[in-house]
């Protein structure tokens, strides 16, 4: 039935992972997400569920520990923040290439460079389009509340194992640092090797058995033909995920003439902005992608037939707006409004931006 708590987003990530029956965590401190590892170390799950927690020497080591753990078919995760995630990108590309299920949490801070520790959403492109080298994708979950921080741990792992793909929770210092009410699940048992095999097949390095060939986790192909085949397989998988796993939420879109599109903490700001705007008589709604990859293209496209313009609100110089534009494909105006470098937009300025860029800008 779960348990009601008041917790920080970062803390609940740790709590949820233990209760989900996660096998291992590997991480390196960085603000604003160090509470994830700190909570785990305080909880000592190795004494209860047997979960392994290792403070790695760096983010590069963390992500490669993740690779080692995921290769064993274990449910493992790591967390970091922007500069640390950048260091992980070779590893993330490897994880995607080798089709390893795992969970990576990015509590985004303002960049570029060392930047600031304040919240930001400027790692969206990195998470959804590029980041590491090569054509790959990861599932990208964008929680907008502490409750979702909890829920996305399980969802992230479930999707990761279903498709043998890394899942990434893309959140920021607001969601990571704030406390809200959250219902955490009851403790689930960790999976045995056998359960994993049964559910997801016998692909992991759990020791070569007589009845099968050695399991090899690799992303290498010396022959380009083999590599292309592998890539075609990956692309097919990605299309399948795009077909099956779209997840979003709408606020007051039924009668909306304008639309905010926003995820994570920006979506929270937009909810407040809707209150203000509607009080002024502006019929605006919100589409909040819950997963930002796969992106709710189809729904954005449908709404483009209903509303007169869309404003993508992000704590960045304009990244997700690309996905909105690609979905709308020129039918109605799409603009971006954002504050960045660690600044959170106020609801009032969001409304103002809607008025100027979309309503007035027509």
């Amino acid at each position: 039935m779960g348990e009601l708590k008041l917790m920080k987003g970062n803390e609940v990530i740790a709590e949820a992972a233990i209760r989900y029956g996660c096998d291992g965590y590997f991480g390196y401190p960085i603000t604003p997400q160090s509470e994830v590892m700190e909570t785990l170390m305080l909880q000592k799950p190795w004494e209860t569920t047997g979960m392994v927690v290792v403070q790695a020497e760096s983010e590069v080591a963390s992500i490669n520990m993740l690779y080692g753990g995921a290769s064993c078919g274990k449910r493992v995760f790591t967390s970091s923040s922007s500069p640390g995630i950048s260091l992980m990108l070779e590893g993330i590309s490897y994880l995607a290439g080798a089709e390893l299920p795992c969970l990576i949490v990015n509590v985004v801070r303002g960049g570029p460079g060392l930047g600031t520790i304040q919240p930001s959403q400027a790692d969206y492109n990195q998470a959804t389009k590029g980041g590491g080298h090569g054509d790959y994708q990861t599932i990208v979950l964008a929680p907008a509340s502490v409750q979702e921080m909890n829920d996305h741990v399980g969802l992230g792992f479930d999707l990761a194992f279903k498709y043998r793909i890394p899942s990434l929770i893309l959140t920021d210092g607001v969601i990571g640092q704030m406390m809200e009410k959250v219902v955490v699940e009851d403790q689930k048992p960790r999976w045995t090797d056998e359960e994993i095999k049964e559910k997801y097949g016998d692909w992991a390095t759990t020791g070569k058995q007589k009845n099968r060939k050695g399991n090899i986790i690799t992303s290498l192909a010396l022959e380009s033909e083999v590599m292309e085949k592998h890539n075609i397989h990956l692309q097919k998988k990605y299309r399948e995920i795009e077909e099956n796993e779209v997840l979003f939420e709408e606020f007051q879109t039924e009668d909306a003439e304008y639309l905010f599109v926003a995820y994570g903490s920006s979506a929270r700001v937009c909810q407040k902005a809707i209150e203000i705007a509607r009080a002024k008589g502006i019929k605006v709604g919100l589409l909040r992608p819950i997963l930002v990859w796969p992106y709710p293209k189809k729904r954005v496209s449908e709404l483009a037939d209903q509303v007169k313009g869309m404003l993508s609100v992000e704590m960045s110089a304009g990244q997700m707006v690309i996905d909105v534009k690609l979905a709308v494909n020129g039918r109605i105006p799409v603009e971006h409004f954002g504050r960045f470098g660690g600044i959170i937009p106020s609801p009032a300025e969001v409304v103002e931006a809607l008025e100027q860029k979309i309503i007035g800008g027509k």
Partner: protein
């Protein structure tokens, strides 16, 4: 000498040495005479001898031995360049009753992966490290490695390694030996039958240490790379004996049968 026909010797029951079971039938891509082949075989023999094929997880590096997974019939993880010790840390901690070993080249282990090997050893992970030191980057075409000898010509030190430009050859094994988390450190080679036998014993010990949970076992194999060195395989062995062994002397550097706590106590004195 009593006369006996060759055919009478070559009979199943007289077979005393052949390819280990764990070695697959895939033709190894290595250049003729490459030490990697012998090292692979020895690991395979140890796995055969200990009968632990179903409990062994190998971590292959980026380097010529990246495809080791095609040659030893066990479960394998292919690591990013230099990061094998990180993978091994996680694998061993999550599956403490398995035997986990990394197999790494000198570029992989001593250059890009210096932090990972140092910290895995310092944490005293219960893993076995097989370190193939051929003093060069074999796979990428013979560039200078941290272990390249002074004066040695490589693709990136075409006039010979100069200490002024490139620094000194790194004795990473000597550094590793000083970490209290490390139980066993040895430097061997595979260029003669005797050396091969010693190295096999060392590898066996490295694997057995995992049962004892006494910390990391680190086995350096001073190796040749005939392609990188631009010598024939036989000449490579000679060159190795003459030059490499001087700088990288063979033998045990550390062998602590004691619990690592002990060695740690010594360390803090």
């Amino acid at each position: 000498m009593a006369d006996i026909d060759i055919k009478d010797i070559i009979k199943e029951e007289n077979l005393i040495y052949t390819k280990p079971k764990v070695i697959t039938d895939t033709v190894m891509h290595y250049c003729p005479g490459c030490s990697h082949g012998v090292a692979h075989k020895l690991v395979a023999e140890v796995i055969d001898d200990m009968d632990i094929q179903d409990k062994t997880i190998g971590i292959s590096p980026v380097g010529c031995s990246v495809l080791a997974y095609n040659y030893l019939d066990i479960d394998w993880q292919q690591a990013a360049h230099g990061r094998a010790p990180a993978l091994a840390t996680a694998a061993k901690r999550l599956m403490p009753n398995h035997y986990v070993f990394t197999y790494q080249g000198d570029g992989d282990l001593a250059s890009i992966g210096a932090a990972e090997i140092l910290h895995a050893c310092n944490r005293g992970e219960n893993i076995t490290v097989i370190f193939i030191n051929n003093a060069i980057y074999g796979m990428t075409g013979g560039q200078m490695a941290p272990t390249t000898l002074v004066g040695m010509k490589t693709a990136t030190s075409p006039y010979g390694r100069s200490t002024e430009l490139n620094g000194y050859p790194l004795k990473i094994t000597e550094l590793i030996a000083q970490l209290p988390g490390v139980a066993y450190v040895t430097r061997q080679s595979v260029h003669t039958p005797a050396a091969v036998r010693k190295t096999k014993k060392a590898i066996r010990k490295g694997f057995e240490n995992q049962d004892k949970k006494i910390g990391t076992s680190f086995i350096e194999i001073v190796s040749t790379c005939s392609s990188g060195w631009k010598l024939s395989p036989v000449k490579s062995n000679e060159w190795m004996e003459e030059h490499m062994f001087k700088f990288y002397p063979l033998g045990d550097l550390k062998d602590s049968e004691k619990e690592s706590e002990e060695s740690y106590k010594k360390y803090i004195e």
